[in-house]
Amino acid sequence: MPSTTEASMEISMDEPTPPRPGEPVISLRAATASLGARPVLRGVDLTVRSGEVVALLGANGSGKSTAVRSVIGQVTLTGGELSLFGTEFRRFRAWARIGYVPQRTTASSGVPATVREVVTAGRLARTKLGILRRADRDAVHRALELVGMADRAKDSVNALSGGQHQRVLIARALAGEPELLIMDEPMAGVDLVSQEVLAGALREQVARGTTVLLVLHELGPLEPLIDRAVVLRDGCVVHDGPPPEAVGQHALPGHDHVHPHADAAAEPLRTGLLS
């Protein structure tokens, strides 16, 4: 049974009143977490304020994915404090304010599903156990248009390329019209066309005041959007401030350069977005 505080949260969800700019949306203090016996986070402080776009950078195994998954409650903290939208995590129920884009795994489940069916699942953040209304269908359509997949709505997700699939997962997160977007490696394995579409969609969200926390392997085409970068190394924050230069990022200690490059084709695109 929802308590009275939760009930009032439900009401504020129906009429979104975005937090004042600069108010902390994610507040992680001295967070520690382990996967099995291995400590992965060793006292991480991470604050994301309303309207900010924060990139979480680091080498493979630095704990950046674990940090993000602990923020959404999928990894249990062994120590430290977490609050979301000013509410202690244990009491937080306003999940509709958060849109989550998981690291891309195997797209398909055991049964075929269309692009629209998958994106509609994201709208459940708002409808919960209720029925799908006209406004919900419209929101799903807007999310599909935002990532340029509206014309593929009736296609099976199994028939999509990696980049298109990533666009569908982002549309799924946007379908709930979140105030905070959390994305785990949204650009990993994404072709250049999809990268461009995703950067555009993200720019539009940021312009509307959406707060964004993204895990990135490198800044790439999203660089112009990013206000602040937090760099993790061995489960500790080693940098929290302006995004490192593109060259500097690669020169970071422990940066493990494993991602594939589309070198020649990539350069003109990046300069295009910077200008």
């Binding site: 959404i72 409650g73 999928q74 129920r93 306003a94 999940w95 509709a96 958060i98 989550y100 998981p102 489940s109 055991g110 049964v111 075929p112 599903a113 269309t114 069916e117 998958v118 509609t120 699942a121 994201g122 459940l124 953040a125 409808t127 919960k128 156990l129 799908l132 340029g148 014309d151 009736k154 296609d155 099976s156 199994n158 028939a159 999509l160 390329s161 980049g163 298109q164 799924r172 709930g176 072709d191 066309v193 999809s194």
Partner: protein, 298 residues
């Protein structure tokens, strides 16, 4: 049709129709989260309930339902908390349930080998009016859940972690799937038998997904296949005097093979159509289509 003149055949056909709808309706979620054999496990556990029903001289259907529901909840708990050796725990549950059922049935007066086999492999023509009431009530429950909560169950079975972050009551919905599967097993028990019930949950879904692109379409086609094979299977078992459960399952496998054979030319046709529309869009929206949009092996 003389087949409809007998009250026992009317009940048999109605039971067959109900099972044809309910088994694929819950089966699709089990297939989606890659637990196609869960129905089989529940069937094993339900046998202990049947044995207990005989021993206590009460309705085997209701006792089997209660035991199957408890078993399915235990399986779901093992799935949550069991880390590495969950499969072994499940194996214990399956074989313990089977052995317990055989033992309890042997201890009771009414239980005989013939009776045991009618629960293991189905005996549709012996469905009693009391069984019918239970089957109808339970089937209504299964349909209310699988159709009414289809969007929520789809989300949970498609991507459990994402569903948790949307704030859906994921644990409750997972439990609901497990309990509904248990109820379906006992609904289908008299028609196809506990050992074959899982086939009717899985095969119609497997056949349907050969020809469909969407979850909704797969759901509808699987139910249509389920009803087709249970009704024709029951009629065939009446005319040819063969066991109903085995006939139904063999028909379902036959349809699966036919659908798979049909699917290959259909996929080619779709690929051609997709290529054609792809070319059209390039002209309308320059730059939005590249070679990337042509699916590989899709």
């Amino acid at each position: 049709m003389e087949i409809l003149d007998y009250a026992f055949m009317q009940r048999a056909l109605l039971a067959a129709l109900i099972v044809g709808v309910t088994a694929p309706a819950i089966g699709i979620y089990l297939v989606q989260r890659r637990q196609a054999l869960m129905g089989d496990g529940i069937g094993h556990v339900a046998l202990t309930g049947v044995g207990l029903g005989f021993l206590l001289n009460t309705s085997p259907v209701w006792v089997a339902t209660a035991v199957a529901v408890i078993g399915s909840v235990v399986m779901e708990l093992i799935r949550w908390y069991g880390k590495t050796r969950g499969d072994l725990a499940l194996a214990m549950l399956f074989y313990g349930g089977m052995a317990g059922g055989v033992m309890l049935m042997n201890l009771s007066d009414a239980g005989s080998n013939a009776n045991l086999s009618s629960y293991l492999f189905g005996s549709i023509t012996t469905v009693s009016p009391e069984d019918m009431t239970a089957i109808c009530v339970l089937a209504a429950l299964v349909l209310a859940i699988t159709v009414g909560l289809r969007r929520q169950l789809f989300a949970v079975c498609q991507d459990e972690e994402f569903a948790r972050v949307t704030g859906l009551p994921v644990r409750l919905l997972n439990l609901l799937v497990a309990v509904t599967a248990a109820v379906t097993v006992t609904v289908a028990m008299r028609v196809v038998g506990l050992l074959l019930v899982s086939a009717l949950m899985v095969i119609p879904v497997a056949a349907a997904q050969q020809i469909s692109r969407s979850f909704a379409m797969t759901f509808a086609v699987a139910l249509a296949i389920g009803v087709t094979v249970t009704l024709t299977g029951t009629a065939t078992s009446y005319y040819a005097d063969v066991p109903s459960g085995a006939t139904i399952v063999l028909f379902a496998i036959g349809l699966f093979v036919a659908f798979t054979a049909l699917a290959a030319p259909l996929a080619k046709k779709r690929a051609r159509a997709a290529a054609a529309t792809g070319a059209g869009c390039t002209l309308e929206v320059p730059g939005s289509r590249t070679a990337d949009d042509v699916s590989v092996g899709g």
